[in-house]
Subunit: 337 residues, 2 copies
Amino acid sequence: MIKIAIDGMGGDNAPYVICQGVNRALKEFTDIEVLLFGDKDQITPLVEPNERLTIIHSEEVIEGDDEPVRAIRRKSKSSMVMAARAVRQKEADVLLSAGNTGALLASGLLLVGRIKHIDRPGLMPILPTASTERPQLLLMDAGANADCKAINLHQFAILANLYAKRVLNIAQPKVGLINNGAEASKGNELSKKAYELLSQEKRIDFVGNVESSELLTGRVDIAITDGFTGNAILKTLEGTGKVIFSQMKHQLLNSGVKAKIGGLLIKDALLNLRDQFDDSKAGGAILLGVKGAVIKAHGSSNEEAIFNAIRQARIVHQSRVIEEFTQYFEESTPINE
Amino acid sequence: MIKIAIDGMGGDNAPYVICQGVNRALKEFTDIEVLLFGDKDQITPLVEPNERLTIIHSEEVIEGDDEPVRAIRRKSKSSMVMAARAVRQKEADVLLSAGNTGALLASGLLLVGRIKHIDRPGLMPILPTASTERPQLLLMDAGANADCKAINLHQFAILANLYAKRVLNIAQPKVGLINNGAEASKGNELSKKAYELLSQEKRIDFVGNVESSELLTGRVDIAITDGFTGNAILKTLEGTGKVIFSQMKHQLLNSGVKAKIGGLLIKDALLNLRDQFDDSKAGGAILLGVKGAVIKAHGSSNEEAIFNAIRQARIVHQSRVIEEFTQYFEESTPINE
């Protein structure tokens, strides 16, 4: 049995979509057990009774605008903190939340705990690309560490590489360093140092610098950067997609009858397009570098996204990749700059 | 007469599109004079004779992959370096090139020269947004300085603010700092320090942090960041737009007859949409902080983009904003951290 601790109160549409996702996952996956943390009165009517589901009442909720570290310290009876504690105490294998990202990162770091010799865990979303050969891109770090050293980027690459191999079954993941130019000499101080470390690292297939214009084209499986830049890129991707689709709708509705009819005819094609860039299918972002699987579903997750994050939690656990990380970094000589 | 020194050999489609743009601009603007630097044999048949056009022969070309500083030192007879020298020697008022960005930045810095008390000039593209209220966004720095200090970001804000007022006639430009969260406490070391400086700066209307998901929504007129992050954002914007439009075309052509017909009907609406995000209308990116107007047109510029960059060159010169910068920074107490 794979035990998944779920924060029932995190995210824009909690607890409703969380419960919907849990209901579906329990039906589909007979090898999972869910510990669902949240307000019992709210949650009970939303879930279908199941012997593999335990609702654990929590009195507090960490809100989206709570200051992360303070929130996990002060709100010790919140659904997120209680779920994280369950993973720490080995009562559950995976932690899943759609709540406050910063608080979840802090929970991972302070409650679940860092893997030995990992300086900074990183947050890695899985992004859909336009490529059929490489339909997914792993972006690491997408925001856990606003300030990074080159050694952090080196560790991100090792972690993401193992994840891609074990969880996504990519035989030889291509790893690129996000930079402001293709040449090895390009970059800021951090990326220049990281380039050096990555190009000497034999355990990964480092293809050199990638520019952020190439991320959706499938040039690499893994793009490594610091959490500030990664966050800026992730939010630019999301923002641009949203703006283009909304402007397209606007144009179709306001360019006369012809465009309106055309809009109806292309509806399916547009839905396909939206599906292609729909990140709810890929699962959540995973916090790599802590002693447990910690998955962050998007705050605006729908049922589908929660279901897919649970599916991802299951695969991550089955892959035993977290144990492999732990062993890898604890036993090997620490990576140094 | 406004004298514009143009690098006739820079960019993917040079000298052809450069000459086309020059022909059109000379017809439209009777108050400009163009010094066109390049291979005389190639250029002469492409331009329409005009008494306000002087072709100045150059023997070398700086290529896209030339190392910038070395290129401008070694290729002293290149079209870009000769055009930059014309501005330095006050034979021209504005420098315009669609060539190697790094080399143009180096030309601006080393040949045209920094304004006193400006530590680092920044590159500022003008991006189309989805907002009718704020149809343009100034992004500064988009790649001139991979490593920045907070004082640089402070100066970028002052420069961009004056540009928005004088050249774009925005009475009170809203200035935001690109950050990984809305709260003042968010960010990396650099953005936290920059936040402090900007929030104390009375000469700008600082609205606080903006996330990169908000850049195209018109929340601010000016978004300030370091050149590494700015470059990553700019390239993500360009890459995402390109991928979405190309996938849309693919979907319309491959989703059956209905979608194909629909595609034909919405063609105009889609062209409107593309037009809306077409940065060739906005002009080039401007290097702010040097003692002359230096404008970088996109490497893939078409005639329209070159024409608009010349139009922009003319407005920048007429606005006297460069003189104002120079005076402002030379006379005022230097801004310190």
